[in-house]
Symmetry: C2
Subunit: 337 residues, 2 copies
C-alpha cells in the first residue's frame, strides 16, 4: 500500500505532514509519497532520520491555500499538490491520499481525477464521533460533501457507513439511523421520510429516525444525513465543546483553589479534550471514490497525520471499496436503489 | 399581566409548575392562573404559604402525556390543561402561557386557538443559547416548529429574533446570520441563498452566512434556520455537552486525587453545567402568536418555571408582539416579503 501525502496542506505544512509521514513509515512500515515543493519537502525531510524509510518525494509546483475559493483554485492551479496526489492514484502509483489542506478542493479533485466507485452517485464525507462507550465511535455522514441530497444518496451513505463501522470499527451489525427532528416515525422532512422508506426495506440493521443527541450517546453506530445538516450539526457540536473549555478555563483561573484542583485533574482534562477534539485526531474520510482520501483538520499535528495514513492503509488492506460496491449491488438487486 | 401556567405539564407536575408559579407571584408580583386538575393543584398549592398571592386555579380535566403522538392527543383530549390555557388567552383572561408539557401539542394548540400575529406566516420556536460573553446569549430559531421552510419564513424568523435580542436582551443592533455550511457567500443550499438575498436588502443588521460554531462563540446575536436543521443542531449540542459531563464524571471517580480536585472545583463545575444546560433554565419561546407561549424543558425545576413566567411577563410589558408586527410591516413596505 502506497499513500500519497499532501505535504503542502494544512496550517503547519510542510512540517507536520512530513513528520507524520515519517512516523507512519517508520512505525508502521507504510510506503509514502510526499507531494509538494521538492526543495521545501526535502529540507523538511532532512530534519528527520528518514534514510532507508520507504519515502519518495514527487514535485508539485503549486499549493491551494486554505482560504481560496474552491472553484478559482481548481481552475487556476493545475499543478497543485492535492491534484498531483490524485494523479498519482489515478496512474496507479499510489492507492490513497492524505491531506490536511483545503477540504473543498480535495473533494472535487478526488472526484474528478480519480472518480467514483461503480454505482456510487455521490461520494460522502464521514467522521467518527465520540460516544460514551470507549469501544468504538459512531460514524456520521455526510458532513459536507453534498449540500443537497436525495434519498438514494442517503441510502448509499448508509451502505458506506455500514461497511466502515463493520469492517474498520469491528461493530457487529451496526445500527443505522437517519438524523431527524425527533424519534417518532411521524417526524422528519420529505428527504428523511423517503430515506426511511427505502432503508426499512433493506437488509441493513436500520433503526429508523434518530435525534441529534443520538450522535454522541452510543444509541446508534451510523447516522446519515445530507451534507448541509451534517456540517451545521458537526460545527455546532465543535462550537459548544470549545465554549465548555473556555468557560472551564475561566473558572480554573478564577482563584488558587481551582488552579490547584485543575493541576490535580490535568490528565483528566487532557483526556476529555482528546475525546471531544475528535475532528483533530482522526480526520474525515471521503467515501465512495475509487481510492481513499482522508482529509485531516488544518491544525493537525504529526500524530493526527500518522493516524490518517494508518486509516488509509487499513482501507486498502481490508478492501473497503469492494465491500461498498458489494453493498450497493445488493441494494440494487433488492430494488431499493 | 396574567400568565396561564400549565400546572399538569412536565415530568414533575404539578409540584414544580405550582412551586415556580408561587415564586413568581411572591417575588415578582405576577398574576397567575394555575390550570389543571383542581384537586391535585389545590393540594399542591396548600404546601406553600400562598394565601394572599395573586394565584387562581382553573380546572382542566385532561392532561396530554409527554409521549403521546401530537395529533391523537389533540383530537381526543378536548379539555387538556394546555388547551384550557390557550382558551384563557383567547378569551382575554390571560396574556401568556407557560408550560413544561408536550412541546408539539403546545405549539399546535397555541397556533390554532390563539392564532398568529397579523402578517406572520409561521410561528417559530426560539431559544437563547450561551456564548462566551456573559453579557447576553444568542437567539437561535427555528428549533422545531416548522420542519420545512421557505425563505419568507426565515426572514420573518429574523425579524422575531431581532426584536427579542434588541428589546429583551438589550443588544444594540443585533447581528443576524443565516445558518449555513460555511461562511463564504458561495455556500448554502437554495433556502439559505434565497434567504440571504432577501435579508441583504433589508434594514436589519444582517451579517450573512454563519456556521454552526457561530451559535456559541458570540460572533452573532440572532441565528435563523429551518426547524429541521435547528432541532438537529440543538439536540446534537445538548448531546455532546452530556457526553462531556459523563466523561468528566468518569474521570473524577477514577481515583482519590481527582475526587478531591472535583470537590475543590464543585462550584465551577456547577456554573459550567448551568451555562451549558441552557435548555433547562430559560425555556424556548414560541414567537409569532397573538399571545406569548414559553415552553420549558420537561425536567424544569421551580426556578426554571419562575424564569419562564418572568420572560412571558417581560414580553407583555415590552409589547414585543407589536414590535414584531412593526418589523413585518417595514419589510413588506420594502418589498422584501
Amino acid at each position: 500500500m502506497i499513500v500519497a501525502v499532501d505535504a503542502m496542506g494544512g496550517d503547519y505544512a510542510p512540517a507536520n505532514p512530513v513528520a507524520g509521514a515519517v512516523k507512519a513509515a517508520r512505525e508502521e512500515g507504510i510506503e509514502i509519497i510526499l507531494v509538494g515543493d521538492e526543495n521545501a519537502v526535502s529540507t523538511e525531510l532532512e530534519k528527520h532520520e528518514a534514510d532507508g524509510l520507504p519515502i519518495q518525494i514527487v514535485h508539485a509546483s503549486e499549493v491551494i491555500e486554505m482560504r481560496e475559493p474552491t472553484l478559482t483554485a481548481l481552475r487556476s492551479k493545475r499543478d497543485s499538490s492535492i491534484r498531483v496526489c490524485a494523479r498519482l492514484v489515478k496512474d496507479g502509483r499510489a492507492h490513497g491520499i492524505v491531506t490536511a489542506g483545503h477540504t473543498g478542493a480535495a473533494m472535487v479533485i478526488s472526484k474528478t481525477v480519480v472518480g467514483n466507485i461503480e454505482g456510487i452517485k455521490r461520494p460522502a464525507l464521514a467522521i467518527p464521533v465520540p460516544t460514551p462507550r470507549s469501544t468504538h465511535p459512531a460514524v456520521f455522514l455526510d458532513i459536507g460533501a453534498n449540500v443537497t441530497c436525495r434519498s438514494v444518496h442517503l441510502v448509499q451513505f448508509a451502505i458506506m457507513g455500514n461497511v466502515f463501522a463493520r469492517d474498520i470499527l469491528k461493530v457487529a451489525e451496526p445500527r443505522i439511523g437517519v438524523l431527524s427532528n425527533g424519534e417518532e416515525a411521524t417526524k422528519g422532512n420529505e428527504l428523511v421520510r423517503k430515506t426511511v422508506d427505502r432503508l426499512s426495506r433493506s437488509n441493513l440493521n436500520f433503526i429508523g429516525h434518530v435525534e441529534g443527541r443520538d450522535l454522541f450517546n452510543g444509541n446508534c453506530d451510523v447516522i446519515v444525513t445530507d451534507g448541509f445538516t451534517g456540517n451545521a450539526v458537526l460545527k455546532a457540536a465543535e462550537g459548544i465543546a470549545e465554549l465548555a473549555f473556555s468557560i472551564l478555563k475561566e473558572e480554573v483561573l478564577s482563584n488558587w483553589v481551582t488552579k490547584l484542583a485543575a493541576l490535580m485533574m490535568r490528565r483528566s482534562f487532557k483526556r476529555l479534550r482528546d475525546k471531544l477534539d475528535y475532528a483533530e485526531y482522526g480526520g474525515a474520510l471521503l467515501f465512495g471514490l475509487k481510492d481513499i482520501c482522508v482529509i485531516c483538520h488544518g491544525r493537525s499535528n504529526p500524530k493526527a497525520i500518522q493516524n490518517a495514513i494508518r486509516t488509509a492503509s487499513e482501507f486498502f488492506d481490508l478492501n473497503i471499496n469492494k465491500e461498498i460496491q458489494k453493498g450497493i449491488q445488493e441494494l440494487q438487486q433488492q430494488n431499493i436503489m
